[in-house]
């Protein structure tokens, strides 16, 4: 996917101005998810389980080479064809080869953020393959030609009326058709696609190294259909998605479901152990593409590597009051919200993603929600610090910071500033900053006298 992260501040402002409905839809949905998560965490010893999950992931990441080799071995033993993709080009080559060999005309695709990252849909379309997104939300935004707005709820930014209008235009349903009727239309289209597609594409929530098992969580059932009906199944798996043992699922499946949607477990969990055997139904060929795309480099980054624990549950997005105002689109890349703000600089390079680490007030709600305890606020600070060191901060900010330090380091200057605030003209280069503040909040109203002046009287008061 082409990254437009640089435009974040402008795009966020534009969206708030031009599409107030998005804010309403996203706020409503994320608050709902967030309430569910809090309730679901409340039923368990969330702190202990998060700590355990973090440790399992840390163990995995610090022994990743071992587990990748083990996973490859087990997958092959299970009859799965294993591929390695360093970058999107590798992934394209692998997929193109499979699609061409099988003469694929139609593909059904289960929701997967990694395939967004790799640009799987544009590639298939360029090969003349018709691609159907089969997750309902994902299908909606495919029809609209939009990228996902949320890791778990790709169409979270749409209101019912948006969908009614879309279906009215595409399928001629009435403008006031109830959600059930719309879902029925989509189901009919997608059922046909499931039955005729030669290729099924998916991501994976987990890949168990010990047994070579692909694990997929969902609520609609479309992932199970996408991975079992077509005769070929290709799964794209980020190398950080491994789990060491099958037993780890007992921890990770419920914890992820609780974090993501507040469920105790997702409605469907598919464990895929390779192609169909003699007499079984299912795909004849299963391919697993293990994707790096910047992850190894991140793993070697002593400060930023912790993002690789991420399960893509979306809990940090739901908890984030900044994300809640705009949804994911202004962030300009596959991963938005708090996790996007710390992952995208790692994947895209800080220069490309510069403004994203600033898309936060450092309120810490994301960290509280994260099932694997990724210290997102700390990572945001790290990326900001690096941005400044690399000279990416705008000139006005650098200037303001230098003046700020000068004033605050010098009590005499500080007192002068204090006077200026109460009447003297303010330094010109600080004005744009001031305007950004006062436009939405009115003029600053300092106390008639600053405390450091009042202190003298307080000292006397004490003496009496």
């Amino acid at each position: 996917m082409q990254a437009k992260a640089k435009l974040y501040p402008k795009e966020a402002a534009r969206l708030l101005r031009e599409k107030p409905g998005v804010r309403e839809a996203v706020t409503g949905a994320t608050l709902h998810f967030e309430e569910g998560r809090k309730k679901a965490y409340g039923e368990i010893d969330a702190e202990a389980l998060r700590e355990r999950a973090k440790r399992v992931k840390d163990h995995l990441l610090t022994h990743l080479d071992h587990y990748l080799e083990l996973a490859e071995k087990r997958l092959r033993e299970n009859g799965v064809q294993v591929h390695w993709a360093e970058d999107p080009l590798d992934a394209h080559r692998i997929l193109r080869e499979v699609a061409v060999r099988h003469g694929v005309k139609r593909a059904v695709k289960a929701k997967s953020m990694l395939t967004e990252e790799l640009g799987v849909n544009p590639l298939l379309e360029s090969l003349g393959v018709e691609v159907f997104e089969t997750d309902l939300g994902e299908y909606l935004i495919q029809l609209l030609g939009e990228p996902p707005s949320h890791i778990v709820g790709p169409a979270i930014h749409l209101a019912l009326s948006d969908i009614q209008r879309l279906f009215h235009q595409r399928f001629g349903t009435p403008l006031d058709a109830p959600p059930e009727a719309l879902a029925a239309v989509a189901r009919k289209v997608l059922r046909d696609a499931f039955l005729t597609a030669e290729l099924g594409i998916s991501g994976a929530n987990f890949l168990v190294a010990e047994t070579g098992t692909l694990v997929l969580m969902e609520n609609e059932g479309n992932i199970r259909l996408s991975t079992s009906l077509p005769k070929v199944h290709v799964a794209f798996v980020g190398i950080e998605k491994l789990l060491p043992r099958l037993a780890d699922l007992a921890l990770f499946l419920p914890l992820t479901a609780r974090a993501a949607t507040g469920q105790r477990l997702s409605t469907y969990v598919s464990l895929i152990q390779g192609p169909a055997k003699e007499g079984e139904e299912g795909p004849e060929e299963v391919h697993v593409v293990l994707v790096d795309h910047g992850r190894t480099a991140l793993l070697h980054d002593p400060e930023a590597w912790e993002v690789l624990r991420c399960l893509r549950c979306g809990a940090c997005l739901n908890a984030c009051p900044v994300f809640r105002q705009t949804g994911g689109h202004p962030y300009g890349y596959v991963y938005s919200g708090p996790i996007g703000a710390v992952l995208d600089p790692g994947l895209l390079g800080l220069e490309e993603a510069y403004p994203l680490p600033y898309a936060s007030t450092l309120c810490g709600a994301c960290y509280e929600a994260c099932p694997v305890k990724i210290p997102i606020p700390k990572l945001l600070l790290t990326w900001r610090h690096r941005a400044v060191e690399r000279g990416l901060a705008p000139t006005w900010e650098k200037g303001a910071m230098r003046v700020f330090q000068m004033v605050m380091e010098n009590p005499a200057l500080y007192r002068l500033f204090s006077k200026a605030l109460r009447g003297l003209p303010l330094p010109q280069h600080l004005l744009p900053l001031l305007r950004a503040w006062t436009e939405g909040r009115g003029p600053l109203k300092p106390s008639p006298r600053p405390f450091h002046e009042l202190w003298k009287e307080l000292e006397e008061e004490d003496g009496r």
Partner: protein, 236 residues
């Protein structure tokens, strides 16, 4: 007992009365209060924006000014957290940074945890209070119950507020780097505000932002720092 008051720059400039209230309150509770000369800003705005060199210089200064005191009390949760949690990150291996970190308290936290004070007086009888949890006080310092208990024990009714623990959108430089998002966050917070007599919080920044926004919207509600209300709780 002797404590140093670190009033921090925003409170100094915009909520000077809160500083006065904090001094009077601490004295009334038998604490000797010092206001060390030369104190300015803890460096948080620079640190949070990534300008660590500037922040480091200010942290160093603050450490020099405050290190001799047994306790340092701030009427600000986020500045307290800056000193407590981030100075040791900013100055790794610096024993003095760590030393200061261990004796820093937000005001209500100091009253409850160090002085063991649970009740100040009855001065808030019948007052309906909306309490905004500043994010750093709440999540970095773990100050959640202390202010509520002190307010309630003084007779205040702390109103249920759906968004009480949600960020108000201030975020220091965030408020001017991403003004539209910052304002949208304030609006969300304020749209759920219950009918209160007064809105309070530990942090001057949040209060400036929220009261400014309310003013723009023509809402008229008394907004004061927690220190001011705690003094009222004591003195009536």
């Amino acid at each position: 007992m002797r404590v140093a008051l670190f009033i921090t720059c925003l409170a100094d400039q915009f909520y000077a009365e809160a500083g006065v209230a904090a001094v009077r309150l601490l004295r009334a509770l038998g604490v000797e209060v010092d206001f060390p000369k030369g104190q300015t800003c803890c460096g948080q705005p620079a640190f949070n924006a990534g300008h660590w060199n500037e922040a480091r210089a200010l942290a160093q200064r603050t450490i020099d000014i405050f290190q001799e005191y047994p306790y340092v009390v701030l009427p600000s949760g986020s500045c307290a957290s800056m000193v407590k949690n981030h100075y040791p990150e900013l100055l790794p291996g610096d024993g003095e940074a760590l030393g200061l970190s261990e004796k820093v308290y937000e005001l209500s936290q100091f009253l409850v945890r160090v002085l063991g004070v649970e009740k100040l007086g009855n001065g808030l009888q019948g007052k309906k209070v909306a309490y905004h949890h500043g994010c750093h006080a709440l999540r970095e310092l773990g100050v959640r119950e202390e202010p509520l208990r002190l307010l309630q024990n003084a007779g205040a009714e702390v109103l249920p507020w759906e968004a009480a623990e949600e960020c108000c959108g201030f975020g220091g430089l965030f408020s001017v780097k991403l003004p539209e998002v910052s304002l949208a966050m304030a609006d969300r917070k304020l749209s759920t505000l219950p009918q209160a007599d007064v809105l309070t919080s530990t942090d001057a920044g949040c209060l400036l932002h929220l009261s400014g926004r309310m003013g723009k919207q023509g809402k008229n509600l008394r907004v004061v720092p927690l220190a001011t209300l705690l003094w009222e709780a004591y003195a009536g």
